[in-house]
C-alpha cells in the first residue's frame, strides 16, 4: 500500500505527472499569450529548457535573510503542491480517495501561499518582504470567496466532503455546473483561482515592473527552478480541482478522457484570456472586488445551493 | 509686445544694460534686485521659468534666468553678473519657484556658485565622483 501511495505521490498523478503537464501547459499559456499579442511565441520545449537551465545555474544564498527558511520554502512548496495534486488527481483519474478530503486540499493550497510569503520574507529584501505582505493580503482577499465556492458542490452532493463522493454524486445527478448555483460558483471560482495562481490581473505580489518578481526576487538557480515548477504545477492543480468540483465524472472510456482533456484546456484558455485582457489591479481594488462582489456572489450561490436551485 | 513695455515700465528702475532682440529681452539685474524682478515676472506676469544658464566669461561669472511668457512667446532673461570669481555668491530663487531647485543645485555643482537661501544645497549629478570632481565647467577646469 505504501509503495502504491509513494508511486501516486511521486509519479502519477503526483509530482512527475503534474510537473510534466505543467511544463506543457506553461508553454500553452505563453504561446496563447503571444498569439494574443501578435507574436509567434516560444517553441514547445521552452519551459522545459528554462527549468533545465535554472537547475544548472549557481545558487546564491542571501546574506541578511533566514537561510534555512530561504532554502526550505521552495522545497516545501513543491511538496505541498505534489500532495494536493495527488489527492485531486487520484480522485479525478482513478476514482480513489487518497490521503484526505476537500478540506485537506484547501489547506494544502493555502499552505502554498503561506510558503511563498515565508520564502519571500526570508530573503531579507525590501521588495521580497513587500511582495510577501501582499501575498498574505491577497490570500485574505480570495480565500473567503474560494471557500464559499467550494462549499457549493459540497452542499449539492448532500454535505459530503470526500472528493470521490462529490464525483460520484455528479456522475449520477449531472454536473454541478448544470445548476444555477453551480454555474455562479464556477464563475467566481475561476476568478478566485486567477488570484490564487497570481495570474494577471492579480499578479500583485510578483508585479514584475513594481516589485521585480516580489517574493522570488532573490532566488536563483535550482531554488528558482523549484518555484517555477510549482508555478506551472498550479496550472494543473487548480483547473483540475475546478473540473472535479463542478464538471466532474471519473473518465471511464477513451471518449471521456478526451472530454476531460478538452474541459481542462477550456478552463486553462479561459484563465489565459482573462490574464491577457486586463491590467494589474491595485491591492485594495482586489480586496474590494473579492469582498464586495465575489464573496457575496459566492454566498448567494451557497444559499441557492441550500435551497436546491 | 505689450508685455515687454509693461515690464520695462514697472521694473525699469531695476534693469541695467538691455539687449533687445525679436522675442528675447536680455537685461542685467543687480543681485539684490533679482528676487523682485523674478517675483514680478513669475507671479504678476505669469511667466514660466524655463531654466537658468551659468557661464564663465573673462570678467566674471554670469547667471542668466530664462523666463518665458507663454502666451506671447516673449523671453525675459535677467542676467546677474558676479565679478568675484574666487567666491561667487548670489541669491537663490528656489524658495519662491520650486522649478528652480534642481537647476540651481546643478549650477552650484558645475560652476561653484553659492546660492544663498537654497533649501537643499547639495550636488545633484556627480556626488559620488571618485576623484572628487570640482566645477568642471569653469575655465580653469582640471577634470
Amino acid at each position: 500500500m505504501t509503495g502504491r501511495l509513494l508511486f501516486q505521490i511521486l509519479l502519477f498523478p503526483g509530482l512527475l505527472f503534474t510537473a510534466g503537464l505543467g511544463l506543457v501547459v506553461g508553454w500553452v499559456d505563453r504561446k496563447v499569450s503571444a498569439r494574443f499579442q501578435f507574436r509567434a511565441g516560444p517553441p514547445f520545449f521552452q519551459v522545459f529548457n528554462d527549468i533545465a537551465k535554472l537547475l544548472g545555474k549557481e545558487t546564491l544564498l542571501v546574506r541578511d535573510g533566514v537561510r534555512w527558511l530561504f532554502i526550505a520554502a521552495p522545497l516545501a512548496a513543491l511538496g505541498t503542491l505534489a500532495l494536493a495534486a495527488t489527492i485531486v488527481g487520484a480522485a479525478l483519474f482513478l476514482g480513489e480517495g487518497v490521503g484526505g478530503d476537500l478540506i485537506v486540499v484547501m489547506y494544502l493550497l493555502m499552505l502554498y501561499a503561506l510558503l511563498v510569503a515565508l520564502g519571500g520574507s526570508a530573503a531579507g529584501n525590501v521588495f521580497a518582504s513587500l511582495g510577501a505582505g501582499r501575498e498574505i493580503k491577497l490570500l485574505l482577499a480570495d480565500e473567503l470567496a474560494f471557500l464559499l465556492v467550494c462549499l457549493v458542490p459540497v452542499i449539492q452532493s448532500g454535505y459530503r466532503l470526500r472528493l470521490t463522493d462529490i464525483l460520484a454524486y455528479q456522475s449520477e445527478q449531472g454536473a454541478t455546473i448544470g445548476s444555477f448555483s453551480g454555474a455562479l460558483a464556477f464563475i467566481v471560482g475561476l476568478l478566485a483561482v486567477q488570484a490564487k495562481m497570481a495570474l494577471p490581473p492579480f499578479h500583485i505580489a510578483e508585479a514584475e515592473t513594481e516589485l521585480a518578481g516580489g517574493p522570488f526576487i532573490e532566488y536563483s538557480g535550482p531554488l528558482l527552478a523549484f518555484w517555477k515548477v510549482s508555478q506551472v504545477m498550479m496550472f494543473a492543480v487548480f483547473p483540475f480541482l475546478l473540473i472535479l468540483l463542478f464538471w466532474g465524472g471519473v473518465p471511464r472510456s477513451a471518449g471521456e478522457v478526451i472530454g476531460l482533456a478538452l474541459k481542462y484546456l477550456l478552463v486553462v484558455v479561459l484563465l489565459v484570456i482573462i490574464k491577457n485582457t486586463n491590467p494589474r489591479v491595485r491591492l485594495d481594488t482586489a480586496l474590494g472586488f473579492f469582498w464586495k462582489w465575489a464573496a457575496p456572489a459566492a454566498f448567494v450561490a451557497v444559499v441557492l445551493a441550500v435551497l436546491g436551485v | 509686445m505689450a508685455e515687454k513695455e509693461k515690464f520695462l515700465k514697472e521694473m525699469g528702475a531695476k534693469v541695467g544694460k538691455i539687449i533687445d532682440r525679436p522675442g528675447r529681452l536680455y537685461f542685467e539685474v543687480a543681485n539684490d534686485d533679482l528676487r523682485d524682478v523674478a517675483r514680478y515676472l513669475f507671479r504678476t506676469q505669469g511667466c514660466r521659468l524655463s531654466t537658468a544658464t551659468a557661464l564663465e566669461t573673462y570678467h566674471g561669472l554670469e547667471v542668466i534666468y530664462h523666463f518665458s511668457h507663454d502666451a506671447t512667446g516673449q523671453y525675459f532673461c535677467p542676467r546677474v553678473v558676479l565679478t568675484d570669481k574666487a567666491n561667487p555668491r548670489m541669491n537663490s530663487l528656489a524658495p519662491m519657484i520650486k522649478g528652480a531647485e534642481w537647476i540651481e543645485r546643478e549650477m552650484a555643482e558645475l560652476l561653484g556658485i553659492v546660492f544663498e537661501g537654497h533649501p537643499r544645497p547639495e550636488p545633484l549629478l556627480t556626488k559620488e565622483h571618485p576623484r572628487g570632481l570640482r566645477q568642471p565647467l569653469r575655465l580653469r577646469r582640471t577634470p
Binding site: H203, L283 | L49, H66, D70
Partner: protein, 394 residues
C-alpha cells in the same frame, strides 16, 4: 505599520534607465519621494564646448534616443536665433514633418510602456506593433530608425522626393486606423480607466510652481505649447489643436498623449501636401555664426526643449546650455506621489514620461568555433533598408 524606505532603482524594471527614487512608505502609502539622479550624466555641455557647431548637432542628437529630433532642432533654432538665419519653406515643412512623426512614435512608445508598467503587456505589444511603420517611415527618409541626422543650420540635410508622398500618405492612413483601435482599447477599457482615473493628481498650482512643461502641464490645465507660443518652422502654417485637459491625473495624461498623436498625424498630412507644391532648396548655406547669444526651443514629445548658445564669432560655442523637458517634469512627482498607494505611485512616476538621459544630458569578438548562421541578419537588414528606399523613392 512601520515606515519603510523603498529604493526604486538604480536598476529596476520600471525604468529602462538607471535612476534612484527613494520612496518612503507607510504600509502601502507613499509619504515621501526623494530623487537621486546622476546615473546618466555624461557631461554634454562640457563636450559641446569642444565641438564645432555642426558636430554639436550630432552630439545633442545623442542626448536622448527618443527625442532625437527635438534636441538637434532646438539646437539649430538657437544657432539661427544667434545669426538671424532664415530657412527655406521646404526645409520648414520637412522639419515639422520629422518632428511630428517623432511625436507619434514617442507617444505610442509611452502608451506601450505605461501598459507594461501596470502589467498589461497586451497593450504594450499592440502599441509597439503599430509604432513600427512610423520607424519605417523614418528609415525611408533618413536611413536610420532613430538618430536621424536630419537637421542643419539653415535647413535640413535630406530631401523628401515628391513621388514618395502618395505612399507616405497611404502608410499614414493605415497608421491612423490602427492607432484609433489601440486608443479605443486603452482609453475606453473600464478596468484601465478605474486603474488610472484620479490617480497621481498634479494640481494646476503645483504644475505652475514646478514649471512643468509639455503633456504633463497640459494635462493639469496649463496651456503651454511651444508650437503655439512660438510657431517656428512650419507650425504657423499648419492647422492643429493644442490639447489641454483639466484633471491632472494619470488618465488625463494618457488622453492628452493619445489625442496629440492624432493631431500629429494631421500635421504630417498637411506637411506632405505642402511639400508637393513647395519646390525649392532645402537649406541656405551658412558660412559663419556671428558673436552673440540665442535661445532655441522646440516642443518635444515630452515638453519644451530649451537650448541656449553663447558664441564669440568662432566656430565653437562658448556656452551651450541644454534643458530637456523631463528636467522640469520629474520633480513634479514629489507633488503628485505623496499620499497615494505604492502601486499607484509607480505609474505616476512613469506618467510624466520621464527621460533621464535627457535630464542629465548630461567589431564582435566571437571565437572561431562559431558556426555562421544560415541567414545573415545584418545583410537582410541592409537589404530591407535598401528595399524600403527603392520602394518609396520609386
Amino acid at each position: 505599520m512601520s515606515r519603510t524606505v523603498i529604493p526604486i532603482g538604480p536598476f529596476h524594471p520600471l525604468l529602462e534607465e538607471a535612476e534612484y527614487f527613494r520612496l518612503t512608505v507607510d504600509g502601502e502609502t507613499v509619504t515621501d519621494v526623494d530623487l537621486d539622479i546622476g546615473y546618466m550624466h555624461r557631461g554634454h555641455e562640457f563636450i559641446s564646448e569642444r565641438k564645432t557647431f555642426t558636430q554639436s548637432i550630432y552630439l545633442v542628437e545623442r542626448i536622448c534616443g527618443i527625442c532625437s529630433t527635438s534636441h538637434p532642432l532646438a539646437c539649430v533654432h538657437a544657432l539661427e536665433d544667434v545669426g538671424g538665419i532664415e530657412i527655406p519653406p521646404r526645409a520648414a515643412y520637412i522639419r515639422t514633418m520629422v518632428g511630428e512623426l517623432e511625436r507619434i512614435h514617442s507617444h505610442l512608445l509611452w502608451l506601450g510602456l505605461a501598459g507594461h508598467f501596470i502589467g498589461y503587456d497586451t497593450l504594450w505589444m499592440w502599441a509597439w506593433r503599430y509604432r513600427e511603420p512610423v520607424l519605417e517611415l523614418f528609415e525611408a527618409v533618413s536611413g536610420n530608425r532613430n538618430h536621424y541626422g536630419m537637421m542643419r543650420v539653415g535647413g535640413v540635410a535630406r530631401d523628401v522626393s515628391p513621388d514618395v508622398i502618395p505612399r507616405f500618405l497611404k502608410i499614414l492612413d493605415e497608421i491612423e486606423v490602427k492607432m484609433e483601435m489601440v486608443a479605443k482599447a486603452a482609453a475606453d477599457d473600464p478596468v484601465l480607466r478605474s486603474r488610472l482615473k484620479g490617480v497621481g493628481v498634479l494640481s494646476r498650482e503645483a504644475a505652475v510652481d514646478y514649471c512643468a512643461v509639455g503633456p504633463t502641464a497640459r494635462a493639469s490645465g496649463v496651456a503651454t505649447d511651444v508650437r503655439k507660443d512660438e510657431p517656428n518652422d512650419a507650425y504657423g502654417l499648419v492647422d492643429f489643436k493644442s490639447i489641454v485637459l483639466p484633471n491632472g491625473d494619470v488618465y488625463d495624461k494618457l488622453v492628452v498623449r493619445v489625442l496629440e498623436t492624432f493631431e500629429s498625424v494631421k500635421i504630417v498630412r498637411q506637411c506632405l501636401e505642402k511639400l508637393r507644391t513647395t519646390p525649392g532648396p532645402i537649406r541656405n548655406d551658412v558660412k559663419e555664426i556671428p558673436a552673440g547669444e540665442g535661445i532655441g526651443r522646440y516642443e518635444a514629445p515630452r515638453g519644451e526643449v530649451f537650448h541656449y548658445i553663447r558664441t564669440d564669432g568662432s566656430n565653437r560655442p562658448v556656452r551651450h546650455k541644454v534643458r530637456a523637458p523631463s528636467y522640469m517634469n520629474i520633480p513634479t512627482c514629489a507633488a503628485s506621489c505623496k499620499g497615494i498607494a505604492l502601486a499607484d505611485a509607480l505609474i505616476t512616476l512613469a506618467a510624466v514620461d520621464p527621460c533621464y538621459c535627457c535630464t542629465e544630458r548630461a567589431v564582435d569578438i566571437v571565437d572561431r568555433r562559431h558556426k555562421p548562421l544560415k541567414l545573415d541578419l545584418l545583410e537582410l537588414s541592409r537589404r530591407k533598408t535598401e528595399l524600403l528606399r527603392r520602394e518609396i523613392h520609386g
